[in-house]
């Protein structure tokens, strides 16, 4: 399912893929409408706006209004996709998302871009390191975190078909394409083993999946076989693959561009504690705020890039 050569794979921004897929969906389905809150040029919903101006609504800098307008549109049979930065979609509009969209089980797709640390230079106020926790706790909401452009397209298309609220967490930078387009298929609610291994299980979601894969390659040269699992569906989550892997390796390391509290690491700990208690270490933002910097600098500073993953594995595993 993976591309042949990870080191040399092309890069594509998930937000660009998102914008393009929206346009394609717009062609296919008259009911697709798109909303933004004065960030259309950043989130790439501007592509849809250009192609289908009458089905695009820029609600200005008003995120509660954004969410509730989408809710209203959904009641008339439209399929609203909305975007803005993740911190605003989930933070400023949490209550409309919860009480209006999810409680009413409305067919709204919340697809913010610029989640996590890789938003970069804008700094802490704009870096959502909490949105997985914020969305995972809402009943009725499906939470998806695509790892690359291929998965992004599949996720957006899947969300368009699924009836009900879906959250898709996207990021700003160009991300290496890890999935082979021709062989890739989205498996709803499943985790996928992207690379088999026996010594430790690395679980990533979104951007960190690539870093986990690279770390695994480097570890392999040191005689450590890390199994790498991709977790695109944070909720609902069928932990089958995780449990099988943990049974084999006995150690799980989670990696996320998110607070280590309540996010992917939290979901993994909850699943394992219930079904197969296993030692887990969580890489991610260690409960502090983000800061300005390039995506790369921040992934290093906050210890979630491939080097940090490699180091964490080496520190954890018994000496060879």
């Amino acid at each position: 399912m993976l591309v042949a050569n990870l080191d040399k794979t092309e890069k594509k921004a998930l937000r660009n893929q998102f914008g393009e897929t929206l346009v394609a969906l717009g062609e296919e389905n008259q009911n697709i409408v798109v909303l933004d809150a004065d960030l259309a040029c950043s989130t790439q919903t501007a592509l849809f706006a250009k192609r289908f101006p009458e089905r695009f609504f820029n609600q200005g800098i008003a995120e509660q209004d954004l969410m509730n307008t989408a809710a209203g549109l959904a009641t008339t049979g439209k399929i609203p996709f909305l975007s803005t930065f993740a911190i605003f979609a989930t933070g400023k509009a949490w209550e409309p998302l919860r009480n209006t969209v999810c409680y009413s089980h409305l067919n709204v797709k919340i697809c913010p871009t610029h989640s996590g640390l890789s938003l970069g230079e804008d700094g802490a106020s704009h870096q959502s390191i909490e949105d997985i926790a914020l969305t995972r706790v809402i009943p009725n909401l499906v939470v998806l975190v695509p790892a690359d452009a291929v998965e992004t397209e599949a996720a957006v298309r899947w969300a368009a078909d699924y009836v009900g609220p879906v959250y898709i967490r996207l990021v700003r930078p160009n991300c290496p394409v890890i999935h082979d387009t021709t062989r890739y298929r989205l498996e709803p609610y499943q985790m996928q083993v992207l690379r088999p291994g026996t010594d430790i299980t690395l679980v990533g979601t979104g951007e960190t999946v690539y870093h986990a894969l690279i770390a695994a390659e480097r570890l392999a040269t040191q005689g450590i076989e890390a199994e790498v699992i991709n977790c695109p569906f944070i909720k609902p989550l069928d932990p089958h693959a995780l449990i099988e892997s943990a049974r084999k390796t006995g150690r799980v390391l989670t990696v996320e561009s998110h607070n280590v509290i309540g996010g992917l690491g939290g979901a993994v700990c909850e699943a394992l504690s219930e079904q197969l208690p296993t030692p887990v270490k969580r890489l991610g933002v260690q409960d502090r705020f983000g800061q300005s910097g390039t995506a790369e600098a921040l992934f290093a500073e906050y210890g979630i890039d491939s080097a940090a993953i490699e180091a964490a594995v080496l520190a954890w595993l018994p000496q060879h």
């Binding site: 509660q64 549109l73 409305l106």
Partner: protein, 301 residues
């Protein structure tokens, strides 16, 4: 709970909307529904009598004389839409929806009980006739704008109504929506503000003064109409005028309906304390006696 249905459910059957009641029938019906409201809240020993009595005349006018809709096809695409933005007025809405056939009458005694459809605040998953759940204030007007935008895309003639509390106009989301509606020129949207001058902790003017609401909406680009929200003629005329404005102007219209919180029950009228408190047996009896007297008088006249 209701079975899951697609919002796109359409029908090839001809739909006959509920035929409007005559002007004369409205006060009598409102008087009757006031009895239902009290009944519900008393049995639940919980709920918002003041808020419900304040808006029931407006709801009766809308649902029985003005809106095009039918319980036989609750999801009829051409139906006029209604958003109960002040969701805590649920007993008033439930009384209307029961009368209009959306909710079985026998559910009247289930308000606010476990497993009931009559949730404390109107929930679309539980009750036909409710398109979007409310309860958290400030959100309904944006929802209504979204509905108006969706209907306009479909070239539907349907109108959209939203009922807001006056205290609810302190919520920023309300003003986001006010700005949005004007910008999008959704002239088929009519907001009605239940201007009873009370919120939970006291008078709106003492808590966070709303002052004159009409100039605020005007400054934001709306048509405004101010009426007595218990005068059925004025309500009717305002709704007709809103219809005219929907075609003659590009602006949405707000009806500022001056009302009396607790209207119809002497000891509840204009009392913040009756915002969200159920009467005890004695109070209930007195309230019912008063409401019954009004109802009988209207029936007889």
């Amino acid at each position: 709970m209701l079975p899951e249905t697609s919002p796109l459910t359409t029908t090839t059957d001809a739909v006959t909307p509920h035929s409007p009641l005559s002007r004369d029938a409205l006060p009598t019906l409102a008087a009757k529904l006031r009895l239902d409201i009290l009944q519900m809240i008393f049995e639940a020993q919980s709920g918002h009598p003041g808020s419900s009595l304040s808006c029931i005349d407006l709801l009766v006018s809308l649902w029985f004389a003005h809106m095009r809709h039918t319980a036989a096809q609750a999801k009829w695409p051409q139906r006029d839409r209604f958003v109960m933005s002040k969701g805590h007025g649920a007993p008033a809405l439930y009384a209307v929806l029961m009368e209009a056939g959306y909710i079985p009458k026998e559910e009247i005694s289930t308000l606010r009980k476990v497993h009931s459809n009559l949730q404390g605040h109107p929930a679309s998953r539980y009750v036909a006739g409710v398109d979007v759940s409310t309860g958290s204030l400030g959100q309904g007007l944006s929802c209504a704008v979204g509905m108006a935008l969706g209907l306009r895309l479909d070239q539907s003639p349907a109108r959209v109504y939203a009922l807001l509390g006056d205290g609810e106009c302190q919520e920023g989301n309300t003003w986001e929506a006010v700005m949005s509606a004007a910008h999008h020129q959704v002239s088929r949207l009519t907001a009605i503000v239940d201007r009873n001058r009370l919120q939970i902790d006291g008078s709106t003017e003492s808590i966070k003064a709303l002052g004159d609401l009409a100039p605020k909406f005007e400054a934001f680009g709306w048509n405004t109409l101010t009426i007595d929200g218990h005068d059925f003629d004025q309500i009717h005329q305002a709704l007709m005028e809103a219809d005219r404005l929907a075609e003659s102007s590009t602006r949405p219209t707000v009806i500022i309906a001056n009302t009396v919180k607790g209207k119809g029950v002497s000891f509840m009228e204009n009392q913040a304390g009756w915002h969200g408190k159920a009467p005890n047996a004695e109070q209930f009896e007195q309230a019912m006696t008063e409401l019954q007297a009004t109802y009988s008088r209207l029936l007889a006249s």
